[in-house]
């Protein structure tokens, strides 16, 4: 079971805009506009078609980030199954996903592999996310070594996904999510605010709210903050609530990482 985000449709935003076919003037009189859109899509790779096992696994993950999976559109990938799935089996997987809150909107894979399932289940085939659709830049920018040499995330085996940088304070009630990447907040995260990333999370300010790294199960993700006052820290769904902040960590620069199933925290420096 692997849950990882991918991008659906054309990755090149500049090409993806604009109307197909009709010029703008005609479009205004038309009742249908057809455009290329671009949406992020969560990718669900299943290793079994047993709905019970899937639900057991999924409910735990969904509980770790309930809002991000509520009625989330997902692309279903079946290539990791040991034997090719039958139509009823895939239907039971789709139903299990729905019970966990996710809506399957398509199948990943090549047309000759999943064409029959696609027709039978009325689900479109979305191109396999392992196929790099974006040209990999020839010259890679020189990077400072990251504290955790994270294994390339599922969605971009070769390409480099730049971190998302958020410069405003994250206030109570706000939520910032670094989808499929690291998130760097150069300001404070207030109590009751939520910062989340599929990769690592850096907060160069006080962290008083909730911080979740490895939101899609990346266990090597880490959380770093300048002043630790967090309410909750979670990495890959393993979390710790801080009803009282340990005095040796309060207000100090802290990092959090996973050691097996164990969520560790320590002062930096």
């Amino acid at each position: 079971m692997n849950v990882g985000p991918t991008r659906g449709g054309q990755p090149d935003a500049s090409k993806a805009r604009g109307l197909v076919g009709a010029p703008t003037t005609e479009a205004e009189s038309s009742v249908v506009d057809i455009r290329y859109g671009q949406v992020g899509l969560v990718h669900v790779r299943v290793r079994t078609t047993d709905p019970g096992k899937l639900l057991d696994d999924l409910t735990g993950r969904v509980a770790a980030a309930p809002h991000f999976f509520r009625r989330t559109a997902v692309c279903l990938e079946l290539s990791s199954l040991e034997t090719p799935a039958t139509v009823p089996e895939v239907q039971s997987v789709v139903d299990a996903l729905r019970r966990a809150g996710m809506l399957a909107v398509g199948l990943a894979g090549e047309p000759d592999a999943v064409g029959g399932l696609s027709m039978a289940l009325n689900l479109p085939i979305l191109s396999s996310y392992r196929t790099p659709t974006r040209p990999v830049p020839v010259v890679q920018p020189v990077e400072a070594p990251t504290p955790t040499p994270a294994p390339a995330s599922a969605s971009s085996p070769e390409g480099h996904v730049p971190a998302q940088i958020h410069q405003q304070p994250v206030r109570s009630g706000q939520r910032v999510y670094g989808r499929n990447r690291d998130l760097i907040v150069t300001s404070a995260v207030g109590a009751g605010a939520e910062v989340m990333a599929d990769g690592c999370l850096h907060v160069y300010g006080s962290l008083r709210g909730r911080a979740m790294a490895g939101a899609h199960g990346e266990t090597s993700a880490r959380i770093f903050c300048q002043e630790f006052y967090a309410e909750l820290i979670s990495i890959a769904g393993i979390f710790r609530v801080f009803e009282t902040i340990p005095s040796e960590l309060a207000g100090k620069p802290v990092q959090a990482w996973l050691n097996g199933e164990d969520l560790r925290l320590a002062r930096i420096g």
Partner: protein
Amino acid sequence: MAETIVVTSGKGGVGKTTTSASIAVGLAQRGKRVAVIDFDIGLRNLDLIMGCERRVVYDFVNVIQGDCHLKQALIKDKRIETLFVLAASQTRDKDALTSDGVKRVLGELAAEGFDYIICDSPAGIEKGAHLAMYFADRAVVVVNPEVSSVRDSDRILGLLASRTQRAEQGNGGVKEHLLLTRYSPRRVASGEMMSIDDVKDILGLDVVGVVPESPDVLQASNAGVPVILNDNSDAARAYEDAVARLLGEDVPFRFIEEPKKGFLARLFGR
């Protein structure tokens, strides 16, 4: 060019209306043309604090719904020539406010040549509060030095940074100021109350004014005279300082230290 300033807080009872009234008076005393609008539809208070409650004929909702002209609803202050009040409606509910209506009224006030439009927000984060802040250029976030008020202010600051016209248009966002009210240096010293620095740290904003806890505030509300007009009040001086800072002046903070007790006071206790 009119500047729209919203006075908001999230939490109720922290002194938004008192602050709106005193800032409006303070700006008008300096010769600015000021209109102050009560957005708390259904719970009108501003007219009481301004002492014009018996002169309300038409209100903000009447103007929005086209029952009267803006000029008919603007109540001229008895004390200061350049100050006008637009009262909230007592009999309607907050749904009577519409985004288009608020925008039109603010536009008409600007066309009338007002320098400042002060929007007195209701508590909470619902429609009235949203519309009060939506068109603002600046925000004065009123906060009491205690945790629930600070938390609510953080929430409001988040909304100011995302759900306002300036934020949506991306032209620099709303300029935010913190104003602490009910500050008691004695209780800060004894650890019962958060200090100015605590609040500044948590909210990450500078403070435009610190108004000390004072019985003059309640007395002023009851008398319908904004507290800033009280010649013998620390709270009034603190509001004057806040107005000066809003206008860009650099004024040192007063009334933030516990007054030194004299020898006799120490000898005989408080």
